[in-house]
Amino acid sequence: MVFSSISFLYYFLPLVLLLYFLAPRRAKNLVLLISSLFFYFCGEPVYLFLMIAVTFSGYLHGLWINRAKDGRYAKVSLISSIFFGVAPLLFFKYTDFAIKNINLFFKLNIPALKLALPIGISFYTFQILSYTIDVYRGNARVQKSFIDFSAYVSLFPQLIAGPIVRYTTVESELYIRTHSLKDVASGINRFIIGLSKKVLIANSLGELGDIITELNEKTVLFFWLKAISFMIQIYYDFSGYSDMAIGLGRIFGFHFPENFNYPFISKSLTEFWRRWHISLGTWFRDYIYIPLGGNRKGMAKWLRNIFIVWFLTGFWHGAEWNLIFWGLYFAVFLCFEKLFWLGLLDKIPVFLRRIYTLFFTLISFVLFNGDGLGECFYNLKGMFGFLNIPFSNSEIYYYLKSYFITLLVAAIGATPLPKTLTEHLGNHKKTKSILNIIEPAVQVSLLLLVTAYLIDGSFNPFLYFRF
């Protein structure tokens, strides 16, 4: 089940809201747990048991680490928790990649397992790891209730596509949380914004990408339009999902961390990664980069640490070489920026710095979006005119013209402009009262529009589900 579906919006959500708010305080986590398990079961009936098993493993390891306290058994338990946490992820996500490469290098013919990737495994594995590591470090109290712990891991708003909510972030809210009308209304607002970003923009640009990919004649403009529309699509898709998760969490009294902060206005790639998929970036920083020594142990180790983290970031996104290259691409840029370019970048006009960032981010998403390295390089060659193809043709102009407003709206929406404007209007007494009427009307309109798009359309995949 996905948030942007009729079954979620008009069946699952109202029933869960009803049960949740009718349930007594002590039963609320149980309601959330059962709802979340059902939510997962709808999409992945078989893998539900895998998720429960991995959750139970995390729960037990948390207890063992806590019992051993600072002794050496605590460390053993931690290593064991990491092993049992990561093993299913490695098995389901990376086995076929390993087999494919072993076959390639050793000229073997080992058959691939062709296992379906359990939805959300990358996200819930990292959440469980953050819990056991934090318990080991003493940063989190052990959770003795399996229901509460399972509710945390499987919490449906963030279960399958993040943000990666650390246990410490919601620890206190698992025990006691308040439900205010303000939070509910703000959650609804955030949820509808995310839903609209996903359905009205991301899906539309996804359709554009699919349509133009089917065109007979490829042109330079085609490759650029495909790259740009994908970059905007993935932002709206993923940030839209994060908005929905944050909004739903808020309705249920949880305060999840922000996952995006207008990444396309960044003035460097270093800044981009402080604004893009923040929960993943900080996870790697806190659980990989800093434990490896960060930048405190000399240049060589710092470079090593950077490359390890970005290799893992790429690999986390998928078992494909182009995704590993995508991660390492950023490692190279981040190193160069840190060592040489940031000083230079500071001296050039802001708009040029933004163009620099957007350009290299765009190239990175061409690497990200390709089906293997061959396709990535083919697309890059197409963008830069190395395929001996015309610059444009009537087909690509047609679709550019047809989707121009969507692209324009998407581009404006990816900047803080709408938010700044709303805040500005909210600061004046006269406009504030108008805004108070307009805002709910806009939300209702967006919800109905999304419903209309869902009913009429069939294009609705979440890109980040594959991770």
């Binding site: 089940m1 579906s5 009729i6 079954s7 919006l9 008009y10 069946y11 959500l13 109202p14 029933l15 809201l17 709808c42 999409g43 992945e44 009936p45 078989v46 009308l181 303000k182 509910v184 209304a185 703000s186 609804i188 607002n189 509808i192 009205l200 539309s204 065109l215 007979n216 009537s394 087909e395 047609y398 013209k401 047809s402 989707y403 121009f404 407003i405 969507t406 709206v409 108070n436 805002e439 709910p440 939300q443 209702v444 919800l447 109905l448 529009l449 419903t451 209309a452 798009y453 869902l454 009913i455 009429d456 359309g457």
Partner: protein, 366 residues
Amino acid sequence: MGMKNIVTTCLFIIIIFGFMIGNIITPDIEISFSERRTLTQAPGFSRRELISGDFFGKFEKYTLDQFVFRDKFRGLKAFMEFKIFKQKDNNGIYIVNGNINKLEYPLNENSVLYATSKINDIYKKHLININTSYAIIPDKNFFLASDNGYLSIDYDKLAEIISESITDGVKYINIYDILSVDDYYRTDIHWSQNRLIRVADKILTGLGSNKKASDIKYIQKELYPFFGSYYGQAAVNTEPDTLIYLTNDTLEKARVFDHYYKENISIYEPERFNGVDPYDVFLSGQKPLVTIENPDSSTKRGLLLFKDSFGNSIAPLLLAGYSKITLIDLRLVSADALDKFINFAEYQDALFLYCTQTLNNSYMLR
């Protein structure tokens, strides 16, 4: 702020609960007339489907199809796409001056070649001794697309491919130059029968007949409102068409035999106007093999008409030149099975009459 929060929360609750209850209590609809398809019904429950996840997939489709005010919501989406996002088309549908059309793009050369090879095979197998011709019906895109900035197939190229690959014995009857967009319904893919007299004349002449449809007196009958196939797909508010058919005593008396169901039908069946596809008024819609016999014919000539749905409305007019016309829809009957039903010696002429859309998507020809 407090009031805004109350309003926001209440509206959200009203909408999600309101539609949930509405969807549950509203009886399910079997057929969408606007989309001309059967709607998904509530899935049956089985443990196997539940475990495999199929149940939830089917349930999702069911919720999409059985949503209250479904057509209104589709209209809302079309409005957004056309008016707000200024998209040139919505699901491939575009509108020019109230004329609804569907993009046909790009030219599928292999499909055109496949259609031609099908014609060649049938000609060589059955029609060597029959005077055989072909005519291409341009779809509405021919008149509307490129002039209004929409993608359009290269019609000259299409004609050229056919002309170069079709076997020598099959002659071409050009009807492009006597058709205009006004000869088609605004809300439908098809042409309007009352505008086809001169087309029928040209085809009859091309086939070597000295009879003309324009010499026959017809009574014009109208059926209103005609919501064509594009009307429902477009999901916009526009004036419906009037479906017009031409009849007379001869056509009323004509014997029409459906070889598949082995039953007699009528040339026109106005009662089908209220069915899923109102164009089924002509010869009861899609039938694999139908023979029309002209009781008043002064000739003994027979015509084999290989056609798509466009042929159903022009066949009654072509009857002016024939005692018998057999309509063959190769989308529904295999070319290999034709000699089981047809005695080719009874026919003097054959015509392959296909719309460009059929030729560009010809893999449906069997």
